[in-house]
């Protein structure tokens, strides 16, 4: 399976689309940093965990769109034509599907590495801020639920109909840029930029990074539902191999 993983990575990442998408992600992240985050969210420092969380939350829609876009590779008509060959091999469809998801997750991690790298460069070069630890918790709260939910919902949508993936992309755009706000904001942008306003200021003037139970539950729900959808998608992979 290592070989399959290697080839899947190569197919996904070593092409002009991914490089273009990487560029788009990077450019957008830089706009967000220099356009929004530089002011700091909810009157906190631009390098507060709140601002950093908002940065990740604002860039996630584009990153999730990229992941969904990569998923279309696996559900495109062209891919279906190759499936008549791969479907006749003895490979375990569940493991095969997992390996492919692993390749997409790797693509996500590369994108995230770019986003993190850009933000650290931004903080260091413009604001002379060199710490990393305050960013770990917001990153953990934003990134895994986004990835798992995108993979889960994307796989399921793709298996039902590739057109649904585009509908999902549209939904991501609407939710990501229209915003739901509150604790249940899927990307957390509305939460990070509003919740700290209700908190008392700490010693340095910024409210401490304490999160509400609602938000933590919401993150867990997204992670859980995403995981569930992912398992359903994998289950559908097994079924597909034996029906018309």
């Amino acid at each position: 399976m290592n070989k399959i993983f290697k080839y899947e990575l190569r197919r996904l990442l070593w092409n002009k689309f991914f490089i273009g998408l990487l560029l788009i992600n990077g450019l957008y992240a830089w706009f967000v940093l220099t356009g929004d985050i530089i002011a700091g969210v909810a009157y906190t420092a631009p390098f507060s965990p709140w601002s950093f969380g908002a940065y990740l939350a604002k860039t996630m829609p584009i990153t999730v769109l990229t992941v969904l876009f990569l998923l279309t590779f696996y559900y495109a008509k062209k891919e279906k034509r190759v499936e008549v060959l791969t479907g006749a091999t003895p490979v375990n469809p569940v493991r095969y599907s997992l390996v492919r998801s692993g390749a997409i997750a790797t693509a996500f991690l590369i994108l995230v590495a770019l986003l993190l790298g850009l933000s650290l460069y931004f903080y260091a070069s413009i604001l002379d801020y060199w710490h990393v630890t305050p960013f770990i918790l917001p990153a953990l709260l934003v990134l895994p639920p986004c990835l798992i939910f995108a993979l889960g919902a994307g796989h399921l949508a793709g298996r039902l109909h590739v057109g649904l993936l585009y509908v999902l992309m549209l939904a991501v755009l609407l939710v990501g840029f229209g915003g739901i706000g509150g604790a249940f904001d899927p990307f957390g942008g509305g939460y990070f930029s509003v919740y700290p306003l209700s908190l008392p200021a700490g010693a340095d003037g910024d409210p401490a990074f304490t999160l509400s139970a609602g938000f933590l539950i919401a993150r867990a729900v997204y992670l859980g539902v995403g995981g569930g959808l992912f398992l359903m998608g994998i289950g559908a992979a097994r079924k597909k191999a034996t029906t018309a």
Partner: protein, 731 residues
């Protein structure tokens, strides 16, 4: 011919496509969003509300069709068949022309659909020309740009989803503040901050037309470039380009169009190339230099070309010069000097290209030292530009219906000269325009019998006058024992009379006179109130005059003063400036004139609050004034860079400028009124405070002496720390 035949059948195919009709239907619905959801243009003016915004909203909604249409031919795999008949680039170009034709038809349909409703809503202010121009200049070219770009992206990537994503990036670029809030980056959402009901809309239409040309050229170039990327001979992108460039006319067309776009962009005449931040200290740097030249008289002759928006001018200075030294004049960077002579002989001069600051540019020369009076003539011509530090403000316009020449937009001036205290002016204007020079409505023109009239006047002060010309009307009435002359656009005559504007003005003046003292005019014993185009925005006041943007006098505003609280505030605010600032008490600090919270605005805003409190009650005033100030101050106090100024210094210059400007505004318009309110409470209430203000007014008004913050504290018998706002200060 084959291409034309293809254009015809493509057009028919599009017309028969169900999707085309859905897209056309959606596009016709686009302007609906402009009534409420997408309102970038001022909604105070009727034409802005019912024409500008719907058209701008409609312009944004269109792109998917051309992408899907490009995609369709490949999805159906018909390229195998069509490529055998015609080259793919000819096919793509024919299809694009067909889609563009369809766009024109849909825009016409859209214009017709909204016409009856718009005519009904805008009423007697409706003009068919403006309506048609709005669709022709704003909507249709934007649709064209959009489909050219979308098709180009599709043809380059050949992936509809990727092209869609890239298109979204381009849209983001257009909307993003990151690229600077100026006209030229807005390819899909042209900036029209305001239309004008009563004056002219030439400025926004001219600049929008210009930006449309820029982006049509760039998008057309991108489309031509994308024709090179059409996949052929089963080759990839690069292979196809390598084949495509052999049709040399395609890369040449692409390069020509893109170069035209770039040339238009860099050579645009609307905004100068000065620094993006206003340089408050430039004046002091500029004015260092020779003052050996003494000017005894200056006469200007201005001849605007209203069709081209250009000004041709000539100024004659009678001078003497008592020593050596370089002289200079400065004027709007849009003007170029055609000739400079001394007693009829040309003299050398050098215009310092690239030296634009605050919307002016210097030209240097050396006048000969002479004791007898000589005469310097400067002839100049050009299209007046806006300063880059205020790129969106339209203070200067030359058009058939409106002329506005402010500051150095009028012509050259120099502080290297010892100036004369008066100047004569000769204006040659179209017959329909009446000029107002330095807030005086001119009279008795000379008819040139060629559709123009010559107006002459003399102004008795140093520097350049403000010149406005439009189809002005004037009414004169008395308020608080003072004669008031209200000058406004003829189109507003009905509003002015129906809504009793003169009474509203009298109310404000009576209040201020009663509570803060009587105005003493420096000249003429008359207060001139002048209406200006909505593009001017807000208000302004000076010695014996007040200016307002027209939107304060619009039907929707005048018929509901409560609804129009903010506009009515401006209205009252600007009159009150006559007591605090204009010709009353001038507040400021000598040592820190740029960033001080203490200025005329504090007392003016405070007085406006008092007036509104008397008019609409305590609750209304608290909600609309005190709460608003407090919220702004709270926001400023909490702001990270306010708490940590050490980080502010690390930010890029543009961002620092923005934060400083925001801070200055909050300080002047919110923090200081709140501190004045605190002072009012500390001295014992409104009645006592009014007595203090009246005493200040008596002492300082019309004396020209600056009223400092310390003077204010002394008058109230308070110390600085008494009125400072604590974090938890609440009223």
């Amino acid at each position: 011919m084959k291409a034309f035949a293809l254009y015809r059948v493509e057009l028919r195919r599009l017309a028969l496509s169900k999707f085309t009709w859905i897209a056309a239907g959606l596009s016709v619905c686009g302007p609906l969003f402009g009534y409420d959801m997408y309102v970038p243009s001022s909604t105070w003016v009727m034409t802005g509300k019912y024409i500008a915004n719907p058209v701008l909203a409609g312009a944004v909604l269109w792109a998917v069709l051309s992408m899907l249409e490009s995609d369709r031919i490949y999805r159906a795999k018909t390229d195998v068949l069509t490529d055998a008949v015609l080259s793919p680039d000819t096919l793509a170009a024919s299809r694009m022309f067909a889609v563009m034709t369809l766009c024109a038809a849909v825009s016409l349909l859209t214009a017709l659909v909204y016409l009856p409703y718009t005519m009904n809503k805008v009423g007697y202010l409706f003009e068919l020309g403006l309506y048609a121009y709005s669709f022709l200049i704003v909507l249709l070219p934007t649709w064209w740009i959009s489909i050219l770009l979308a098709a180009a992206l599709y043809q380059i990537t050949r992936r509809i989803e990727l092209a869609g994503l890239l298109y979204a990036v381009c849209v983001y670029f257009s909307f993003s503040q990151f690229f600077g809030n100026h006209y030229f980056t807005h390819w899909i959402n042209p900036i029209i901050l305001s239309y004008s009901d009563g004056f002219s809309n030439a400025s926004p239409l001219r600049i929008t037309l210009y930006t449309r040309f820029i982006w049509l050229a760039i998008a057309g170039g991108a489309f031509a470039l994308s024709l090179l990327c059409m996949r052929r001979y089963q080759k990839n992108l690069l292979g196809s380009i390598a084949r495509g460039v052999r049709k040399i006319y395609i890369p040449i067309t692409a390069a020509a169009l893109v170069s035209a776009g770039v040339f238009l962009w860099t050579g645009q005449p609307f905004v100068d190339h000065g620094p993006i931040e206003y340089d408050y200290e430039y004046r002091y740097r500029r004015d260092v230099g020779s003052s050996n030249t003494r000017v005894s008289s200056a006469s200007y002759r201005l001849e605007p070309n209203v069709m081209a928006g250009r000004l041709k001018g000539r100024v004659t200075f009678d001078f003497t010069k008592y020593g050596e030294g370089e002289d200079w004049i400065a004027m709007n960077p849009g003007y170029t000097i055609a000739k400079m002579t001394v007693d009829g002989d040309d003299i050398p001069y050098k215009t310092l290209i690239g030296s634009e600051v605050n919307g002016e540019r210097k030209t240097v020369f050396t006048l000969p030292p002479v004791s007898a009076r000589r005469n310097l003539v400067v002839e100049y011509e050009g299209f007046p530009s806006s300063a880059k530090c205020f790129p969106l403000s339209v203070t200067t316009e030359i058009s058939l219906e409106y002329i506005s020449l402010i500051n150095d937009g009028v012509g050259p001036f120099s502080t290297s000269f010892v100036p004369c205290a008066s100047s004569t002016w000769e204006l040659i204007l179209p017959s329909g325009l009446t000029p107002v020079v330095d807030h005086v409505l001119l009279e008795n023109p000379e008819d040139n019998h060629n559709g123009t009239k010559t107006w002459r006047t003399t102004i008795y002060r140093y520097g350049l006058p403000w010149i406005l010309a439009a189809d002005f009307d004037a009414i004169t009435f008395e308020a608080a024992g003072t004669a008031v002359e209200l000058i406004y656009a003829h189109k507003y005559d009905r509003n002015m009379r129906e809504y009793g504007v003169s009474k509203a003005i009298a109310d404000v003046m009576n209040y201020c006179t009663e509570h803060q003292g009587k105005l003493g005019f420096a000249k003429g014993k008359r207060l001139v109130m002048l209406q200006r185009s909505a593009m001017f925005g807000g208000g302004n006041a000076g010695d014996g005059w007040v200016e307002w943007s027209e939107d304060i006098f619009t039907q929707s505003n005048l018929s509901d003063p409560l609804k129009g609280a903010s506009a009515m505030e401006v209205f009252a605010h600007e009159i009150i400036h006559e007591w605090w600032g204009g010709l009353g008490v001038v507040c400021g600090e000598y040592d820190d004139p740029f960033y001080a919270a203490w200025s005329d605005e504090g007392l003016t805003v405070y007085t406006t609050y008092r007036l509104m409190k008397e008019k609409y009650g305590e609750l209304y005033a608290a909600q609309n004034y005190i709460d608003v100030w407090q919220a702004a101050v709270d926001k400023q106090n909490r702001g990270f860079y306010y708490r940590h100024p050490e980080y502010l210094a690390k930010l890029p210059e543009q961002y620092q400028a923005q934060l400083n400007s925001e801070a200055r505004e909050t300080n002047q318009y919110c923090r200081m009124p709140l501190m004045i309110l605190k002072a009012e409470r500390l001295v014992g209430g409104e009645a006592k405070f009014d007595e203090i203000l009246q005493a200040i007014h008596r002492q300082y008004a019309s004396t020209g002496q600056m009223f400092t913050y310390q003077d204010f504290l002394d008058a109230c018998d308070l110390r600085e720390e008494d009125v400072i706002l604590e974090q938890d200060f609440q009223i």
